[in-house]
């Protein structure tokens, strides 16, 4: 258990300290009253001796006290549960929101480099684990400690000798619990791993079912599946068996305690040696003995849960401790408008220091220029976009917009100067209208429709069940790839930014539709500096400047005609489209 993690978690609980204190007080009150109950019951029973020898009158005050004890204890039990729930849920809510906000400040390098599933799992599952751990931890810690101390005191006041017996036997239960936990843990780890292997296999093979069918791989797949499944069976039986041991063992230990208390207690009662005890007290003792062992039985379970919670908390803290993007300087320029002159000067950049990607790149774009970037996959085309938008910062050299270094401009305003359409369309769960108006929430319905019309999206939107109010499922799953892209284009059309970035924006749209959108783009690009990355060379022939990239540097530049005439890399690339096979 790591103290630093605990300290940090406690910091999150601090705003809820009042409730935490209330929980502690409730625990003390409810547990001690719960423990006081059996004493009262015992005293009452001592008034029942035999036929004709029952003192009902003496029992009345005892039973009334008992009733009051019960009611107050119940009330505080509820308060304890409520407070701990409140504290742990609110604490993890803050933790969760903070983690999400942190992700928004992390450099894209981090987001690109980490599996999204893993990050989501941290925000969702790990936070839940922390909450469960806190809940269990607080409740069990408070009640457990109070119970042990309380029962010890009560038992000691009744009879020290029998108390000693109980205290001597309890380590047995602790030992048994620890032993089972250790056995179980090992098996669980193995079971989890095998289960993961099986899920992975199924996921892969069902996901690739088309391929499985094509190659008639079904039998081979089932053979492999059965093999993993058999292994899962073997460790599953063990894991389940070991974990199911804890209840019977606990019952056994409790049984032993009961037997010992009943027997030794009775002997004491008869002989008065080593210390006298009444029958009612034996009855109280029986209850206490069980209460006393309970926290010990549960301690291992709670410890495992707390350990899991701490592991989860560490995974969250790992995200929180990542270095954020360097914030904008306080005096950074807020650029609302720009001419559209972009200068890239001696720019070098690499994602990975050992592999150079862009080296000493220079580009000069004047207002209204259309700059196309072409080249084979992995040559660094998309990287330029990342640098222009400051998703990544250059290692060396600089980018100037209207003569201002982009590092001196606030990120928000710099990015606002560009309208960007990426190859991978991104829509969020919401209405079509919300998605188009994402960049300008104040846009009127007319403006939204006008933008959609420009992007040739209006007609298909009208065919959707609720038109512009149709709610898109997660990531726009109920639209085709091409339709989603049209919505993204409409989004940019609505914002009407001074500069444009199109990164393979039309690659998932069939070429006939593309021609139409291209017209809209051409319209939009008038007077705006635009950067276009494209795979299909036919789409960039009209560009003012074509930059041909290969292995991180610009190897040729010029207009389409110039480059064709040059007859080198670009010309080859272009002509290979039409090579007869």
């Amino acid at each position: 258990m790591k103290l630093s993690v605990l300290k940090r978690l406690l910091k999150y609980a601090k705003p809820h300290a009042a409730f935490l204190m209330l929980a502690l007080v409730s625990a003390i009150i409810s547990v001690s009253l719960t423990l006081y109950g059996p004493i009262l019951v015992g005293r009452a029973i001592d008034n029942i001796v035999g036929p004709g020898d029952v003192d009902h009158r003496a029992m009345i005050p005892i039973l009334i006290t008992l009733a009051a004890t019960i009611v107050i204890s119940a009330a505080f039990q509820w308060l304890l549960a409520y407070c701990t729930n409140r504290v742990s849920y609110k604490t993890v809510r803050d933790l969760r929101v903070q983690t999400y906000e942190k992700i928004n400040t992390l450099p894209l390098k981090y987001i690109d480099g980490h599996p999204h599933g893993d990050l989501i799992s941290r925000i969702v599952n790990d936070v839940d684990q922390v909450s469960d751990g806190l809940l269990q931890g607080i409740t069990q810690l408070f009640t457990g400690v109070v119970t042990i101390l309380g029962t010890l005191i009560f038992m000691l006041t009744i009879n020290p000798v029998i108390t000693a017996v109980v205290v001597l036997i309890t380590p047995l239960s602790l030992f048994v619990a620890a032993f089972i936990a250790k056995l179980t843990h090992k098996q669980f780890v193995e079971q989890q791993a095998t289960q993961g292997e099986l899920s992975g296999y199924v996921e892969e093979l069902i996901g690739g079912q088309k391929v499985v069918k094509t190659f008639h791989y079904e039998e081979r797949a089932e053979r492999n599946f059965k093999e993993i499944n058999q292994r899962l069976y073997r460790c599953g039986v063990k894991a389940q068996f070991y974990s199911s041991l804890s209840n019977p063992s606990t019952r056994f230990v409790n049984g032993v305690v009961t037997a010992a208390v009943a027997t030794i207690g009775s002997v004491c009662a008869i002989t008065g040696w080593p210390s006298p005890i009444t029958i009612g007290q034996i009855s109280s003792f029986l209850t206490y003995a069980n209460q006393y062992t309970k926290p010990f039985n549960e301690v291992t379970g709670v410890l495992t849960q707390i350990q899991t919670a701490f592991a989860s908390a560490e995974r969250l803290f790992a995200v929180l401790d990542e270095e954020s993007e360097i914030p904008d300087a306080p005096d950074a320029l807020v650029m609302e408008h720009c001419e559209g002159n972009v200068d890239v000067q001696h720019l070098s950049f690499s994602y990975d220091p050992s592999r150079k990607l862009i080296e000493n790149m220079n580009i000069q774009a004047r207002r209204g220029d259309r700059i196309a970037i072409v080249g084979p996959t992995g040559c660094g085309k998309t990287t330029i976009i990342n640098l222009l938008m400051r998703f990544y910062d250059a290692n060396q050299g600089s980018i100037l917009v209207d003569g201002h270094n982009v590092r001196d401009i606030t990120r928000g305003s710099l990015r606002g100067l560009y309208g960007m359409v990426l190859q991978e369309s991104w829509l969020f769960s919401g209405t079509v209208r919300d998605n188009i108006a994402y960049g300008r929430e104040d846009a009127s319905m007319e403006e939204v429709i006008a933008a959609a019309k420009k992007a040739h999206a209006h007609s298909f939107i009208m065919r959707l069940p609720n038109g512009y109010e149709t709610v898109l499922s997660e990531d726009g799953g109920n639209l085709s790839q091409g339709q989603r892209q049209l919505l993204c284009i409409a989004r940019v059309m609505l914002v009407d930014p001074p500069m444009l970035i199109l990164d393979e924006a039309t690659s998932s749209i069939d070429t006939r539709t593309e021609v139409k959108i291209q017209q809209a783009f051409t319209e939009m690009m008038k007077g705006r500096t635009s950067f276009i990355v494209a795979h299909r060379l036919s789409t960039i022939k009209e560009a003012d400047l074509i930059l041909v990239m290969n292995q991180g540097s610009i190897i040729e530049q010029g207009t389409h005609e110039e480059l064709l005439q040059k007859g080198e890399f670009y010309a080859n690339l272009y002509n290979s489209q039409f090579a007869a096979s």
């Binding site: 029942i48 001796v49 035999g50 029952v54 009902h56 029992m59 009733a67 204890s73 119940a74 009330a75 039990q77 509820w78 409520y82 729930n85 929101v97 999400y100 992700i103 894209l108 989501i120 992975g200 199924v202 996901g207 690739g208 069918k213 190659f215 791989y217 599946f225 499944n229 058999q230 899962l232 069976y233 039986v237 063990k238 389940q240 068996f241 199911s244 019977p248 019952r251 049984g255 032993v256 002997v267 008869i270 002989t271 009855s283 990120r411 990015r415 960007m420 990426l422 969020f428 994402y438 997660e474 998932s508 069939d510 070429t511 299909r536 036919s538 489209q577 039409f578 090579a579 096979s581």
Partner: protein
């Protein structure tokens, strides 16, 4: 849920014996308070120390034997439940493998995975609980009441009042809070959705500087989840105090009225103590019962989801085997083929993915298939290896209806390269061997060469033994595509189908691939689906698809002259001169 009981058949012994052993333990457990009562009444009252020790020994013995019985039961429960799960998983996976794409698309891969993992686990757990607790818990509750009744019928009235009261509290609180758990799950799903969107849309969010509004959206979802959680907590926090309250008031009643009974000579002091003990046993047992109800509600939902899979009949049924090919027949023939994903062609031609297709393909030809997104290209080729069955009309390969072949026969003839390049975890070699388990090293080499993959594979330090991670994530898109092409070629198929499989290749590699296919695979019939006019231009025949219909078929020259759709596609990609250059 009962329908799944057949998977327990193998474990009949465990299912019957397990609860019996458990019951034995429970009986012993019920005897213990009785023994305690005897110790007090017979031992302490008469001062018989010997008797006390003897009874102490009996209690210890009961404990040991009880433990033994419980362990036997737990072991049986583990074997039966895990065995049940294993058999069920095998069966499910086997059944899923018989599904055609129609069924798999209907369920969706993630849903099938959850069913085969989580749902089976849930059922497995329910089986274990069935053996371990279903008999034990109600028995303990009931047993405690009965034992109390045998001790003293009058005083046991307290039990008859308290027990239903506790059960009622359990029922009311559980039935109100359990539905909330579904709501909570939904709120949690929302949180995970917003996180996912936040990550996948990081660039767009930052481009529009929408971080703050996204954070607000997230905070809103997180608050909602927290509020619901706290609301549920308020309710379920009532459970323990209320049952505690009822139980203890019952204890007060027992002591008070028990006093009268003892005074009247109907009961002893020890028996009153036994009564108090039984009361706490009932409470514990009832709480277990309540939890069991939750477990089985969940299991019933899982069982329904599993049964849904098992009850689904594959729509594509394997043929019983075809004889030799019909001589002089075309390699592939489509005869008035229509297909609709809903399975009802005819009345509603509008909903068909492909409509009324008729054409033939001769052996050794190279065929290009072109058309816009959603025009039915992928559906068309999916009908050949029977991923789907034609709703109307017939598809013939070598003159024989595809439905007559066994899957192995039919699919053995076909090498298919899917649109989405998919590799499986293993090595490059293990992936290539999907096409043919017994392929010779030269065959693998040749396949890689034709697929233009040899060069980059040879450059890898471990060449064919290089590790492939799940989905082939450690390779670039272009590399993956070339490897999937090589995989299809390893089987040396008679028909090679490339479903837009060269989209991630640059034009030069694409051209080289086409050249190699032409020269190195004599006699192989090649079907090439593409959006690129340049890819299909040189094919022997080009099939042009438009909105599910055949818009034209012929050579590039013929189609340029006759087919409006084809001309439009070509002109949108190529300049006039290029399009007209043969």
């Amino acid at each position: 849920m009962l329908k799944l009981a057949r998977f327990l058949k193998k474990y009949r012994l465990q299912v019957i014996l397990g609860p019996i052993f458990k019951l034995t333990e429970a009986i012993f457990e019920l005897i213990v308070p009785l023994v305690t009562a005897h110790i007090i009444d017979n031992g302490v009252r008469t001062g018989d120390v010997q008797y006390v020790w003897r009874m102490g020994g009996v209690m210890l013995l009961l404990g040991v034997v009880g433990l033994g019985c419980a362990l036997v039961c737990q072991k049986m429960a583990s074997i039966a439940s895990q065995g049940f799960g294993t058999v069920l998983r095998d069966e499910l996976y086997h059944h899923i493998n018989t599904f055609s794409h129609t069924e798999i698309d209907r369920f969706g891969t993630p849903s099938l995975i959850t069913r085969i993992t989580n749902d089976v686990n849930q059922l497995q757990y329910a089986v274990a609980m069935l053996i371990r607790l279903v008999i034990r818990a109600p028995f303990l509750a009931l047993g405690a009441v009965i034992m109390a009744m045998t001790i003293d019928l009058q005083l046991s009235l307290v039990f008859l009042v308290a027990t239903p009261l506790i059960a009622l509290v359990l029922y009311v609180i559980m039935s109100r809070s359990v539905p909330y758990f579904k709501v909570m799950q939904k709120k949690l799903d929302k949180i995970s959705l917003i996180s996912r969107e936040g990550l996948s849309g990081a660039r767009v969010i930052r481009a529009f500087s929408k971080q703050e509004s996204e954070e607000e959206r997230f905070q809103l979802a997180a608050n909602e989840q927290t509020d619901t959680a706290i609301r549920v907590a308020k309710l379920s926090a009532l459970l323990n105090p209320l049952t505690y309250l009822i139980m203890n008031f019952a204890v007060i009643a027992i002591v008070w009225f028990g006093g009268s009974r003892v005074s009247a000579g109907g009961m002893t002091q020890g028996e009153v103590i036994a009564f108090v003990n039984y009361m706490s046993q009932i409470l514990l047992a009832l709480i277990v019962v309540a939890n069991l109800v939750v477990t089985f509600t969940k299991a019933a939902a899982s069982a329904a989801r599993v049964n849904e899979v098992l009850d689904t009949q594959p729509s594509v049924v394997e043929g019983c085997g075809a004889s030799d090919p019909v001589k002089r027949s075309p390699k592939i023939a489509f005869e008035q083929v229509s297909f609709s994903y809903t399975g009802h062609a005819g009345e509603n031609q509008e909903k068909c993915a492909v409509k009324d297709l008729t054409f033939t393909i001769e052996e050794g030809q190279t065929i290009g298939i072109i058309g816009g997104t959603g025009s039915g290209k992928s559906t068309l080729i999916g009908l050949i290896p029977r991923f789907y069955d034609a709703t109307q009309g017939q598809v013939r390969v070598d003159g024989i209806n595809v439905k007559e072949y066994t899957f192995a026969q039919l699919r053995g003839k076909i090498g298919m390269v899917p649109q989405h390049a998919e590799l499986f975890s293993g090595t490059i070699e293990s992936n290539l061997r999907w096409g043919n388990e017994k392929a010779a090293p030269e065959d693998l080499d040749r396949a890689l060469r034709i697929a233009q993959a040899k060069e980059f594979v040879d450059r890898l330090p471990e060449r064919l033994q290089s590790k492939v991670s799940q989905g082939g994530k450690n390779f670039s898109g272009g590399q993956k595509q070339r490897l999937t092409i090589a995989r299809a070629l390893t089987g040396n198929p008679e028909i090679l189908i490339l479903d837009d499989s060269a989209s991630a290749l640059d034009f030069a590699t694409d051209a080289a691939l086409r050249r190699a296919l032409k020269t190195e695979t004599k006699g192989m019939t090649v079907l090439m689906v593409s959006q690129r006019a340049s890819t299909v231009k040189a094919a022997d025949q080009i099939i042009v698809m438009d909105d599910g219909r055949l818009a034209g078929i012929g050579t590039h020259q013929q189609l340029m002259e006759q087919c409006e759709v084809y001309r439009e596609i070509c002109l949108s990609q190529l300049s006039k001169e290029e399009a007209e250059r043969a």
